[in-house]
Symmetry: C2
Subunit: 109 residues, 2 copies
Amino acid sequence: MAQRIQNLRRAPTSSKMARALDFSSRRWALRIIWELRVGPLNFRALQAACGRISPSVLQRRLHELRALQIIEKIPRLGYRLSTAGEKLFQVLAQLDKWSRDMPVPLEQK
Amino acid sequence: MAQRIQNLRRAPTSSKMARALDFSSRRWALRIIWELRVGPLNFRALQAACGRISPSVLQRRLHELRALQIIEKIPRLGYRLSTAGEKLFQVLAQLDKWSRDMPVPLEQK
DNA sequence: ATTATTGCTATGAATACCATAGCAAAGGTT
DNA sequence: AACCTTTGCTATGGTATTCATAGCAATAAT
């Protein structure tokens, strides 16, 4: 385990990781996944859950997330996490924990 | 553990998490942390490690990350992860693992 | 003294994101 | 059936973010 992390520290950033980080930096991408943790949500419900996302961006992200097979569209219920999406949720759960443990409040201008 | 995740699924998105997700979506923010996993890097080294980041954005992110006390500036060596930054690295290590296990390649246009 | 490296700042163009309005299709109600 | 509501999206035009590139003062190395 410690060994695994040591190797991670030495190895150059993999292209897969570079892409994952790049994708993570698209606005609302991770938030959408996080909101879907509760179960399937339709377009408007997701919009409301995210707070202030504009529909054009939501629409774009949904397409992207579907192309990556992180979420899937189901006929009457809207969108839900795929298996890969569920695994990504587990990672985000760690981020949630981290954010709660942060000594400095994560305020941004 | 399963219980903890169940609770996460039910609870609304905390404001701390919302901010963490928002911050994660600033371009290069997580990548910078990931590149610093190897140890302290100076400005130009970080620039090179990230590949194509423009100096103005790097500069801005470094300020933000310092304000959040995720990284710290050390006189001759450049920038390095703080304790909180190291913890965030652990989360990113999970993301790295996830990206490697992804069945669909994370390609983006 | 000269050259190279480093840490930045400035600038203008390209891209991403925003708020808002609106509309066709489907579902529910009377 | 006629009406109203909800839903999933598209269109538009403005604002913010990020980009590539150039450059410059300060420090370090030769």
